[in-house]
Amino acid sequence: MRLRVRDGRIIDPAHNVDSVADVLIEDGRIVGLEPATDPDRGSTQGDAQVIDATGKIVCPGFIDMHVHFRDPGYEYKEDIETGSRAAAAGGFTTVCCMPNTDPVIDNGAVASYVRKRAQDAGVIDVLPFGSITKRQAGEELSEMGELVRAGCVGFSDDGKPVMRADVMRNALSYSRIFNAPIISHCEDLNLTRDGQMHEGYYSFVFGLKGIPAEAEETMVARDLLLARLTGGRLHVCHVSTRGSLELIRRAKAEGIAVTCEVTPHHLTLTDEVVGSYDTNTKVNPPLRSEDHVQALRQALSEGLIDCIATDHAPHHLESKDCEYAAAAPGIAGLETAVAVIMDRLVHSGALDITKMVSLFTVGPARVLGLDRGTLSPGARADITIIDPDRVKRVNPETFNSKARNTPFAGMELRGWPWMTISEGRVVAHDGSVG
């Protein structure tokens, strides 16, 4: 099976490639690039399927290292198949799913189940994270060796921060055996209790209990110190405050092994939107004030942030169709992430397109130590093609995800994923997965 993606603008930040060329694929692997100027180009075209990518941007397959697929346990919200389809529609070829399922991914059997279900769905690749602690209870370490053998590529108790410093210390230390990152959801629960939104001017104005930025920052500080103490690899997920960024900046300068991610919604929405009491604006960590959003954007373009991750958190309608304080936090982000970043950051000039591609490809691949996120010969033929000028309104009714919870509904965005190729097979085209 051969495939030629023709005349697209190839952006492969891992190798500083930015030129119009063809990508050749054979048996699920990248064969190589053929410059558009090559006179012999297309000599093998006879038996290859040709995709005309003129005017499109051809990138290595996008990686989202932070999704919640709710399977096993909450398949009515999302299952691995619908989640995979949403990922493909959104331009992702690899996603990492968080272990806060029921049962928790804290043993090899559950991790193997996730891998198997994803392979059966046959859409994109799903790599699980194992939990840091058994049942995510924050007390005893999971059997990390068994989890790695079953395909886990990192550890996280996301959503349930590890409150005990001694447990976090041991996790960062022990995980060095596998050189796997400890992915930390930094939140001091004593400071966030009952909080509904970012603490500040608008939390008073809207009468909702605030969550101070310091609830995140004190835990980032703690985890950085523990990473320094142990030499373990720390990945701070969904960074949302200026103070966290300053701490991470200093730690990186000091040589501490820390990486971090930011979500599309924290980059583009402020706490002001909570005033509608639209429960789709409720997320954890909460949408921050303008000052923090500006700091995130600045850090993104400076290269302090390693990757963009969606924190795709699908919820059933009834978890959102209710009073604000009663609503579950989270945004179903897979199908809008690329368009939101393209429209709000790339087209506005706040973020360079090459930088954007690296944040979705080589960035997360490096965090996870994966041999992906590039179009090098021999690599998995995972390709994301973007139509930079496609204008479309966000319509949750057409989502491939089971969930509809998005604060971006109704927004007109420019720049959408056009085609997703996973291991050499076209799995999504213009939002439809087939």
Partner: protein, 313 residues
């Protein structure tokens, strides 16, 4: 835009100055009705209103019910706290059920901020917020403003001190939003743990001492302190609170001559307000209760579309 053009009354934050004035002006003839021997006009005959209180407040509920009855509306009350919530019924389902019973207006008290906004989006009935979480209590704000205007002859440019738990008070918020629209100078005072961050951005002056807040004030609005806040560690003890923040008669020397004292009730005598103060000549606390009925009549009248000239008939 006049207030009578609106579907709902959710808060004073998004109400215009003219709308507030329209309500306060309409409350004047309504107060006459409340003071009559026979407190009944036929204005809202055949119209239905229902009170749904997810949080107990017999006073506010009764005030709304009487306001409706004096205007001849049919009023009823759905006791939700004991029934549907415990059965796990969603707010949306409860509202749908009420809608099918046919009232024009639903008056709602809820412990979660924004709950009436959610209801307003999901029903064709008119919604009046009778207090939502720590967000707003618009009719309380309006009755406070009505009372102040009655005594001071105006609202514009007054100096108003609000004392107590500003952070968790919907009364404080509705007062602040309303009064700022009339160019009042609003100061808030309480322990720093009960003063919201960034409150200055609203144009309100935060003070940590009661004395600082009431210096030169024309109006002192004392809020009820919830003793649970002490359990939550927001102040060390009720005794210490009253030592620092209880309004006493000697404080009045600092205020402007003729300053008046308000309290939304029910009072904790000897905690946030001394008995001498509560019962003293500057207190307008009892009038607030009567004005509450008048203001709610005005709101119902404007929302339920009674004829303009019937108002005082």
């Amino acid at each position: 835009m006049g207030f009578d053009q609106r579907k709902d009354l959710l808060g004073l934050r998004d109400l215009g100055r003219e709308e507030i004035e329209q309500i306060l002006d309409t409350a004047i003839p309504m107060k006459d009705i409340v003071q009559r021997e026979i407190k009944k006009v036929p204005t809202l005959r055949g119209k239905g209103l229902i009170t749904v209180f997810y949080e107990n407040s017999t006073r506010t509920r009764t005030s709304f019910e009487l306001a409706g009855k004096y205007l001849s509306a049919d009023t009823s009350n759905l006791a939700v706290s004991t029934s549907s919530v415990q059965k796990g019924e969603t707010l949306r389902d409860t509202i749908k059920t009420i809608e099918m019973m046919g009232p024009q207006v639903i008056i709602m008290r809820h412990s979660m901020s924004g709950a009436p906004h959610y209801v307003a989006r999901n029903t064709s009935m008119r919604v009046i917020n009778a207090g939502d979480g720590t967000n707003e209590h618009p009719t309380q704000g309006l009755l406070d403003m009505f009372t102040i205007r009655e005594h001071k002859g105006r609202l514009d440019g007054l100096k108003v001190a609000i004392l107590g738990d500003i952070l968790h008070s919907r009364v404080a918020r509705s007062n602040i939003y309303g009064l700022l629209k009339f160019g009042c100078e609003v100061r808030v005072a309480g322990p720093p743990t009960l003063i919201p961050p960034d409150v200055e951005r609203l144009g309100v002056k935060p003070c940590f001492t009661l004395e600082e807040a009431i210096r030169g004030a024309d109006v002192i609005n004392v809020l009820r302190i919830q003793k649970e806040r002490q359990q939550a560690g927001l102040f060390p003890s009720v005794d210490e609170y009253s030592n620092l923040y209880m309004l006493r008669p000697d404080h009045l020397r600092l205020a402007a001559p003729g300053a008046i004292v308000l309290h939304p009730g029910p009072m904790n005598r000897g905690v946030e307000i001394s008995s001498e103060m509560a019962d003293g000549p500057r207190s307008v606390i009892n009038e607030q209760v009567m004005n509450g009925v008048a203001v709610r009549m005005a709101v119902l009248f404007l929302m339920m579309g009674g004829g303009r000239d019937e108002a005082a008939s």
